[in-house]
Symmetry: C2
Subunit: 139 residues, 2 copies
DNA sequence: CGGGATCCTGCAAGATACTG
DNA sequence: CAGTATCTTGCAGGATCCCG
């Protein structure tokens, strides 16, 4: 598999240069991806631009506060843009920037991996938990 | 760009079937990737198997507690395996399972994206913050 | 060496209420 | 409609000590 070569080599590169986790680009960006909602919002915006409440309706289990914050972060990072239409009442549309669109491919690959291997992972978890229960509380 | 088609279509698929965030495979898996340390540990194990304190030495800013927990989670999900050698004192080696190795490619793609676009993102942030400061506190 | 057990703290994030 | 403001809490995660 060719995919892992870049990862391991880049790791030894970072190591060699003295690794600073706080300034690490990868951490910095992956922290966002790992955000509870970022990936979901990105995905929702992938299809087409959407308005605030439209997003909220699509993802009912995110609070307005968190949706606002997630969108702000995306805007701040230049992944999404915000367009206000001064209608009555006001409507605000969010859309992916070119940069935002460019992350869809790698992100999509990861999502696809997650989808394909979820069953396997669930089985692994079940086995692990069963084994752990035997060890600690075989009542 | 062909990469975003899968993402947006899979999103509408989820939508159509009634979307449950708690059971969402993607969330479930990406939560792990988003963990503070998971990606880093995965990357460290990509090159070769490593022992506990070896990992700790490589990543000094992770506490033993968190390293243990991260490794346990990886083991639980079937991404890594744990091998105990009953020497004196004991030594424990962690290595990626085939499943763990299979995530390196998509994860690597994302890491590469992060690396390539980090400068752009930093600039976007700086611009956004400067603009925000003008709006709120132009003293 | 490779952890487990415990204590403690800050901040992420939900709930609720208000506004232009 | 599209947010902000404030309060409150859970729990991730660091520090510390102990153990086989």
């Amino acid at each position: 598999m060719a995919g892992d070569a870049p990862l391991s080599t880049s790791f030894s590169d970072w190591q060699a240069r003295g690794f600073d986790a706080a300034a690490c680009p990868v951490r910095n960006v992956l922290d966002r991806i790992g955000d509870k909602w970022t990936t979901l919002v990105l995905t929702a915006l992938a299809a087409k631009p959407r308005r605030f409440n439209e997003l909220h309706r699509i993802m009912p289990d995110i609070s307005k506060r968190m949706l606002t914050q997630t969108l702000r972060d995306l805007e701040r990072d230049g992944l999404a843009t915000r367009h206000v239409f001064p209608t009555k009442p006001p409507s605000v549309e969010y859309r992916l920037s070119p940069l935002g669109q460019s992350v869809l491919a790698p992100l999509g690959a990861l999502v696809e991996w997650a989808d394909r291997n979820y069953a396997t992972i669930r089985e692994a978890r079940a086995r692990f938990d069963a084994a752990a229960e035997l060890r600690s509380g075989p009542n």
